[in-house]
């Protein structure tokens, strides 16, 4: 039978992995909720976060506490610029749901191969932000993993409060539900879209910076997490922030625990099987609405 401590270790791994999936997925679901589009370049923002950390800490020898906010700001700006230049023009036109998907696919592939061509295809190592471990219940728990759980918690609470209490957050929720009515309230919905897109990129980049030390940095590091994030978004329900969080945790735990029964190469399959399950049983996801 499986040893208890290994089970606990995998559970914690699952929570850590899950919170990262939740972070990446929350950005995706945010964009879907407001703009009604799926960003197929989302994985590349994750990758840019990772590379940003690499360039900051390893190449430029900047301390982590400067690099991290710098990377997040830069990715936010990249996101905003991309939305303004390439996505916003498509908003008024017919065929939005197809054009947005295809153009972000193109943007994603471009960024991915740009990184490959100009930054190299090598797997770069990035040092842990918090070294060492701490003893918890007779097990060694890496500080970095606690950091990951902590930032996820902070982000969740921050977003929850922003959406509930701030002027911007309420405007975002209104825009998501009815952008024409929101316009009547004086809300500049296109500007809201822009900022939301930038924030979503930020969330992906944050996850990228958190996982870079564990999985190392390379141009293709974003593809896997992005597809998994899509599945999480469907699992949680398109547009539901809490769904993305819960879905991410479920996905992380499922994958982690599956390692106990399958070899690691096959563990990616569990997320896809989850997808098939959802699509067949309940396509609207955990908290989604009817419009799937």
């Amino acid at each position: 039978m499986i040893h208890f401590s290994i089970l606990i270790e995998q559970l914690i791994n699952g929570l850590v992995l899950g919170s990262m999936y939740a972070l990446v997925a929350s950005g995706l679901t945010l964009i879907w909720g407001t703009m009604k589009m799926l960003n197929f370049a989302h994985g590349e923002f994750y990758m840019l976060g990772g590379f940003g950390l690499y360039f900051g800490i390893v190449s430029s020898h900047l301390p982590a506490w400067i690099t991290l906010p710098l990377v997040l700001i830069i990715v936010f700006l990249i996101g905003v610029l991309l939305e303004k230049g390439l996505i916003a023009p498509l908003l008024g036109r017919p065929g939005w749901d197809v054009s947005a998907v295809v153009i972000t696919l193109g943007i994603g592939i471009f960024i991915q191969n740009f990184a490959f061509k100009f930054w190299g295809g090598d797997f770069q190592n990035v040092p842990y932000m918090f070294e060492g471990t701490v003893k918890v219940f007779k097990m060694n728990l890496a500080w970095h993993r606690i950091y990951i759980l902590a930032i996820t918690l902070i982000v969740i609470i921050a977003f929850w409060q922003i959406m509930k209490r701030t002027r911007f957050g309420m405007a975002m929720r209104a825009t998501a539900q009815d952008n024409e009515a929101a316009t009547l309230m004086g809300i500049p919905y296109r500007r809201i879209y822009r900022i939301t897109f930038g924030l979503s990129a930020c969330l992906a980049a944050l996850a990228g910076t958190a996982l870079a030390p564990i999985f190392s940095v390379n141009p293709w590091m974003g593809s896997g997490p992005m597809i998994k994030a899509f599945i999480v978004v469907i699992l949680g329900g398109l547009g539901s922030f809490s769904g993305a969080i819960l879905g991410g945790l479920i996905m992380g735990l499922t994958e982690s625990l599956s390692v106990l029964f399958l070899t690691s190469g096959w563990k990616d399959l569990t997320s896809f099987l989850l997808l098939i399950l959802i699509l067949v049983i309940r396509p609207s996801g955990l908290f989604g609405t009817k419009e799937w």
């Binding site: 405007a171 539900q177 009815d178 009515a181 009547l184 309230m185 919905y189």
Partner: protein, 234 residues
Amino acid sequence: MLRVSDLHVYYGDAQVLWGINLNIAPGEVCTLIGANGGGKTTLLKTICRLLPTRKGSILLSGVDLKDREPHEILSLGLSMVPEGRRIFPSMTVEENLKIGAYIRRVWGKKDSQLEKNYKLFPRLEERRQQLAGTLSGGERQMLAIARALMSNPQILLLDEPSLGLAPKIVEHVMETVQAINQNGVTILLVEQNANIALRVSQRGYVIESGRIVMEGGSDALLNNQRIKEAYLGL
């Protein structure tokens, strides 16, 4: 207060409004009546800049709205209660009202605005934490109107507020509209229900197939033979 001159509006290549002329004086209740498809909602949407204009002008207290962005209209003092209410279903009553005060000018004073509106709409205060999506039709209409008032507008546009509501509730809505007018807000009431619209207003316009075909005092319109036959079912 609101002057629309020679307005021509198109959906793509198809013209839907021809040479609309409208004049609304400050403080009055003016109505625009007409059958379905006559262009009432199109006109309101165009005034709010949700639709573009090809020709003509829209002056609000002398300011031409033609080059303004749709989200700027509220700051200029023009607020609309859209057709179908369009409240935000996943937000509470109170949140719906608060977002009505989004523009910077009033956001800081939203709490006092909230109190004022709760006095005018006590039923909404009772339900302040309830999700707007669970409200009845009449309550939603009240919410939509209250929300539109949160920014302290000078002129309020109402697009078919009586739609889908029982007669008793329609009466209540119209009483509220009159009360709002007495507080100094100019009203443009667009309605399919000509009877009640003409009783509540001082002046009226009639729109048919995208053109203004008649205008005048509401009492005169009420007694007009053609209006009686076409819109009052008499």
